[in-house]
């Protein structure tokens, strides 16, 4: 009984403010005649309209490009990260070059990507890969370099075969770092897909948002922005679930899950 009560109070503290915010927005904007801030009710109905009528034409392409870009980034990042993490001389040789390349914000490459790929999906995927590849790469390298020397000693002294060393020791040991990197990549990927849809594009959620802003369809613009927010949030939640599953041992090891990074 007490536990149930405790749980419901905990839930209540979590959700009262979000609910209050939505209610306040709803009532305060209900009679709004401002061009920029249309009533929330209208934004929501436009959101429904966008989701139903433009799913195949705009939302799906956004998601497809994002998925393609992220998959390539993760595969490439982990493979290159393994090579650089396991071969220290290679890492020291490439480190300055990598630090420079990664310091270029992905959006700054949009003009260059236009030169290279023109307008279209290729350009968008390329931009995502260029931006989202680095966190995976760098975290994979860090994860591997940070593997406890004792773990390496165990692997060597028990003559664990190369394949098992890689798949059962190195990758799992570096997994918390790799996953943290992928998580950064996902949020960068969302930013970059939107950015690439702003520039010379004829489809995508970002395109809807910018077009409606240019034509002063404020309700549609807010709806698209809300959609992007929900999308980003859902991706984050989805990712947390995957992480939770995959890294059960890591939390067990640390006792409690605190989050945050030093």
């Amino acid at each position: 009984m007490r536990a149930v009560l405790g749980k419901s109070t905990a839930l209540l503290t979590e959700i009262w403010l979000p609910i209050l915010t939505v209610v306040a927005w709803w009532t305060l904007s209900s009679k709004s005649t401002s061009l920029y801030f249309p009533p929330l009710s209208r934004i929501i109905s436009k959101l429904g309209e966008v989701v139903t009528t433009r799913f195949a034409s705009d939302i799906l392409p956004s998601l497809q490009n994002l998925a393609a870009g992220l998959c390539i980034s993760v595969i490439l990042g982990v493979i290159c990260g393994l090579a650089l993490g396991l071969l220290p001389p290679l890492y020291t040789a490439f480190q300055p070059l990598l630090e420079f390349m990664r310091a270029i914000p992905g959006v700054a490459l949009l003009p260059v990507a236009l030169f290279m790929f023109g307008i279209g999906s290729d350009m968008k995927v390329a931009i995502i890969v260029f931006g989202a590849f680095w966190p995976v790469l760098m975290n994979t390298i860090d994860g591997i370099r940070g593997i406890d020397i004792l773990v390496k000693d165990v692997s060597r002294s028990y003559n664990i075969r190369r394949r098992d060393h890689l798949t059962r020791i190195v990758l799992p040991a570096a997994a918390p770092q790799i996953i943290a990197g992928i998580r950064i990549s996902v949020s960068l990927g969302v930013i970059l897909i939107v950015a690439s849809e702003y520039v010379a594009s004829t489809e995508g959620i970002g395109y809807i948002e910018l077009q409606s802003a240019r034509q002063y369809y404020m309700d549609v613009m807010w709806a698209a922005l809300l959609l992007l927010g929900v999308l980003g949030y859902l991706l984050n939640v989805l990712f947390r679930v995957v992480e939770h599953r995959l890294l059960r041992w890591h939390r067990g090891l640390r006792g409690t899950d605190q989050g945050g990074t030093k």
Binding site: A10, T13, E14, I15, W16, L17, P18, T21, Y36, P89, T92, A93, F94, Q95, P96, L97, E99, F100, M101, R102, A103, I104, P105, G106, V107, A108, L109, L110, P111, V112, L114, F115, M116, S187, V190, I191, V194, A195, Y198, V199, G206, E209, L210, A213, M221, A224, L225, L228, G229, G232, Y233, L235, N236, Q258, G259, G260, T261, K262
Partner: protein
């Protein structure tokens, strides 16, 4: 002797790799392996960069970019750190705002550009608002985590020596949360730079990003790439500066001291 030689060897290998990459770029271009319609040669890119650096317009643009970044980052820190400490100290506030902050911080920050563009136009003010919006979340969230993670023993120690509230914030809470705060600020600095450039590339606000778009739309290959190189260099400078800053501020912390085993 050998150790020192190895040390230089390591540095040299990094420099060598960059030199080889640059040479490959130049050779690939001259031999036609890299299509000339897409890539300028390395030499012409650096020539373009040099000639840009001789123009007042270029420095003005760079100044505007960095100015909006500095102001935006400073404002984000000024808002994020105190608010983060408050949320970290008051459990009820922390739990109440968690979902809202979670949602707001996962909205891809560039998608706010059309909104701020409408409200403020293509101005430095617009850029600053955008940067503050994007950069405040990591600082806020990390500060709150840091404060919550403060060792109970430290807090109890402060209590048992009856340190005043202000003193225990100044001497216990802030220093022990510092590693987290610095991480937040470092992330925010990178996001800030990304947003400064984004607002210029996507929203045509004045700055290096806009200059780059102008060069691109004029079909000027070499200057476009020169801007990319420049922005990369600025990114490296920001990264190094913040590393140095956290090294100085956190000289007591194991991650900076180098852990002894």
């Amino acid at each position: 002797m050998l150790v020192r030689l190895l040390h230089y060897g390591r540095k040299a290998s990094g420099v060598l790799t960059i030199a080889v990459a640059l040479a490959a770029w130049e050779l690939g271009n001259r031999s036609g392996m890299l299509p000339r319609s897409m890539f300028p040669s390395m030499s012409s890119t650096f020539e373009a960069l040099l000639s840009l650096m001789g123009q007042a317009r270029f420095w003005q643009a760079l100044g505007l970019t960095m100015l909006s970044w500095v102001i935006g980052l400073a404002l984000a820190a000024a808002v994020g750190i105190p608010l983060g400490m408050l949320l970290g100290r008051v459990g009820f506030l922390y739990r109440s705002t968690r979902l809202l902050i979670d949602f707001l911080s996962t909205i891809p920050s560039v998608s706010v550009i059309p909104v701020v563009l409408l409200l403020f136009g293509a101005t430095t003010q617009m850029k600053v608002v955008l940067i503050v919006y994007g950069a405040v979340w990591p600082i806020l969230v990390q500060t709150a985590y840091g404060v919550r993670d403060t060792d109970r023993v430290l807090i109890d120690t402060a209590r048992s020596y009856s340190l005043s509230r202000l003193r225990s914030i100044r001497y216990v809470l802030i220093p022990s949360a510092m590693p987290y705060i610095m991480t937040g600020v470092r992330i925010a600095a990178v996001i800030g730079l990304l947003l400064a450039v984004s607002s210029e590339v996507l929203g045509s606000a004045p700055g290096v990003g806009m200059e780059m778009v102008l060069a691109q739309s004029g079909g000027a290959l070499a200057p476009t790439y020169a801007y990319v190189v420049l922005i990369g260099l600025v990114g490296v400078a920001v990264y190094l500066a913040f590393n140095e800053l956290s090294r100085r501020l956190l000289n007591w912390h194991p991650s900076e001291r180098g852990v002894m085993t």
